[in-house]
């Protein structure tokens, strides 16, 4: 920068020779800049990333095995957490039957609160589906044994409980072994139910985490299937025009004319019931995408129709490009940003679709766990009134759907700021 003063009215002006940043960056970068300005969308993206990370390591984050039955804790309310010496601890529950209302009543005994520990051993699982381990991020290991418990075990356990709460795995192993030995004599460790327990005493929090793996991925996988069908059919419909276009468009209209939920239900009802969880998962995604591709195909057709009139497509033809090449290397890359937006906005519908199907008993079936499957338990209003925590699986559904919509809107604004 050099400023030169002159005697002229307008004076000198600052030198600025650098080329503008906008000339050097790609369109994707410009889009990213615009996206980053939208705080709400960025926030939604962060939340979604956290949710998917959580789903990826769900068993590690779950304090309990999601399928572990525990009749002693049927419909246990969310566990009360008490701070003991500044550290969160779990109050053990004692179960009694209320004879008047014929329901289980739980009483917390916070005198015997057990601290929540980090990196504890529990049910075996595979971290990220690869590494076999039995370590969980947090959990409750043991109760301080009553005084008459086996001394050797109690010593080890006591030593352990006063030891550092971030104890190494070695010490914990001993504790685990000790508790296994003491199982018959000592009380079971108090259970940690952040979200309460269901009818069979299964930990709802762990089940929500486990369910997120199905519910969050089924949305994406379903949309990917829709994308493949929708973008190819949409692109060719728009590009070829004529009979092909007519046939595809009429098909789309027929599919769209039928209300979505019954259509899903019809497809799902046709699925065989004797399938493995994985097969069922794939079949459900196909059901979702059989309905979901239409919106995508429509939007893409519109885009392609617009592109078809552009001169660079004419130039590509004059270059000798085949129709397939024009669609694949000119039209789809240009539509990519739009496809991403459309897909992002389609994911929440897919998630809701799976949830609805499972809720109706047509989607994922127990023992598989998804948010929809969990919400099935709320079909009895009485049960919800008495055990309102059973509705908690709806929270991540709402959160995920809202975040996807916010993200999609932000992306749309970023790629197309003028429309």
């Amino acid at each position: 920068m050099a400023t030169v003063s002159t005697g002229l009215p307008l004076g000198g002006v600052a030198v600025q020779k650098e080329e503008s940043a906008a000339d050097q960056v790609s369109q994707w970068t410009l889009m990213r800049w615009r996206f980053m300005q939208n705080r709400l969308s960025v926030g939604a993206l962060v939340v979604l990333i956290l949710m998917y990370l959580t789903a990826a390591v769900a068993p590690f984050l779950s304090p309990n095995d999601y399928n572990e039955l525990d009749t002693d804790h049927a419909f246990a309310a969310p566990t009360r957490i008490k701070l003991v010496h500044g550290w969160p601890s779990v109050c053990p529950l004692t179960q009694t039957l209320d004879p008047d209302h014929f329901k289980w009543v739980y009483e917390a005994d916070c005198e015997r609160a057990v601290p929540i520990r980090l990196f504890v051993h529990g049910a075996k699982h595979r971290l990220l589906g690869l590494i076999p381990t039995d370590v969980h991020l947090f959990g409750v290991v043991d109760v301080p044994p009553p005084a008459e418990a086996a001394p050797s075990a109690s010593k080890t356990a006591a030593k352990d409980s006063v030891a550092s709460l971030l104890a190494g795995l070695g010490g914990q192993n001993v504790a685990g072994a000790a508790s296994a030995q003491a199982e018959t004599k000592a009380e079971k460790p108090p259970r940690l139910f952040f979200f309460g327990a269901d009818q069979q005493g299964r930990d709802l929090f762990s089940r929500v985490l486990e369910g997120s793996r199905v519910s969050l991925t089924i949305g994406i996988v379903g949309v990917i299937f829709s994308l493949i069908i929708g973008s190819l059919l949409g692109a060719f419909s728009g590009y070829m025009g004529g009979v092909v276009d007519n046939a595809i468009q009429r098909t789309i209209e027929i599919i769209r004319a039928v209300p979505t939920l019954p259509l899903w239900a019809a497809f799902a009802a046709a699925l065989p019931r004797t399938t493995t969880v994985t097969q069922r998962y794939l079949l459900i995604t196909i059901v979702l995408s059989l309905v979901g591709w239409t919106g995508l195909a429509r939007e893409l057709r519109g885009k392609v129709l617009a592109y078809r009139a552009l001169d660079y497509i004419a130039a590509a033809r004059l270059a000798g490009s085949s129709h397939l090449r024009i669609v694949l290397s000119h039209m789809l890359p240009n539509a990519a940003s739009h496809i991403i937006v459309i897909a992002t906005l389609a994911v929440p519908y897919s998630i809701l679709g799976e949830t609805s199907l499972s809720f109706l008993g047509l989607g994922m079936l127990p023992p598989a766990v998804s948010w929809g499957v969990l919400l099935r338990d709320t079909q009895q209003i009485q049960s919800v009134l008495i055990h309102p925590w059973m509705l908690l699986p709806a929270v991540p559904v709402i959160l995920a759907v809202a975040c996807f919509f916010l993200l999609g809107d932000g992306l749309r604004d970023a790629i197309d700021p003028y429309s």
Partner: protein, 374 residues
Amino acid sequence: MVTTSAVAEAKVSANGQVDNVIELEDLHVHFHTKLGVVRAVNGVTLEIPRGKVVGVVGESGCGKSQTAFAIMQLVPPPGRIVAGKIVLYPKNGPPVNVLRYDRNSDEMRAIRGGHVSMIFQEPMTALNPVYPVGDQIMEAILLHQTTDKKEAAARAVDILGKVGLPNPKRLLGTYPHELSGGMRQRAMIALALSCTPDLLLADEPTTALDVTTQAQILDVMRELQAEIGMSILFVTHNLGVIAQMADEVAVMYLGQLVERAPVEELFDEPRHPYTRALMRSIPHLGTPRHARLNVIEGGLPNQYSQVPGCAFHPRCPVAQPGLCDVYQPALRPVTPTVEVSCFLYHNLDGTPVAAPTQTASSGTGPPLGDALPA
């Protein structure tokens, strides 16, 4: 801005003997974007004499349209008028300091349409597609001139006939989309002139039209200008149109005026190197066929950067190193009627260059005729 009242402030400048309809003084319009500041209008001082047509020529991005928008306070966001003064002298009534009013104020609305109207390249920017043309014109008349509906309708028919639209009575109920491009342009002009403004801002009104339609529209505009006696600020990049329409011409480059002259003098003897280069680079009927056209070397600098010194010096064939790339020339008179901002005509201290430009052939510098590629 000074804190005196709008009217009082304006009167001071009204004391000049020239009868101007509007005076712009050191107008700056900036666009603040994420990538930097675009100085679309960068210190424009311009007066428009009453009843005259002032043409503003320049290439796209030179700020000619934004100057017109600034007068209406219609600079689109993120653009802002950051400095300057605009004083309007209506035929009836006291002078108005336009920029003292908020862009959404009632006063500003009264100025737009009442005293100053605008026509655009694309008529559909001014015409509302869901109302008949006649209704829109009548509404404008009812808003600014009369409250009698019958009179307004009569005036609307009158003005539609004047712009050369056939069967104006029937047109009152015609929607804009039923008209052809040329007809819409006429309808927009009718709408703009319905309140007999003091000043018409014409932003490339014929650029999108075919030559034969353009000729018709120019005829209409010229006739109506003479009849109404309004002033026109005619923004265009077409030198032929300028030659046909303007009484005076202002040449703009990168947000600044580089030359102002009566139209005949400008075409007889363009003085600023940019004006010369621009005129020579355009082929027109009768120029030698297949001969190389003169080009202005280089391209426009990045819109976010500020060129030091004279904005044109990087592309100027006669730029003087050490002078043009350091100091910014101001617009100064070369003859009583012509103003140029170039160090070929005046020195750094503002005095005219030793050799008077009309007669001279001093040997101290390279003759301009040689320096420009012939």
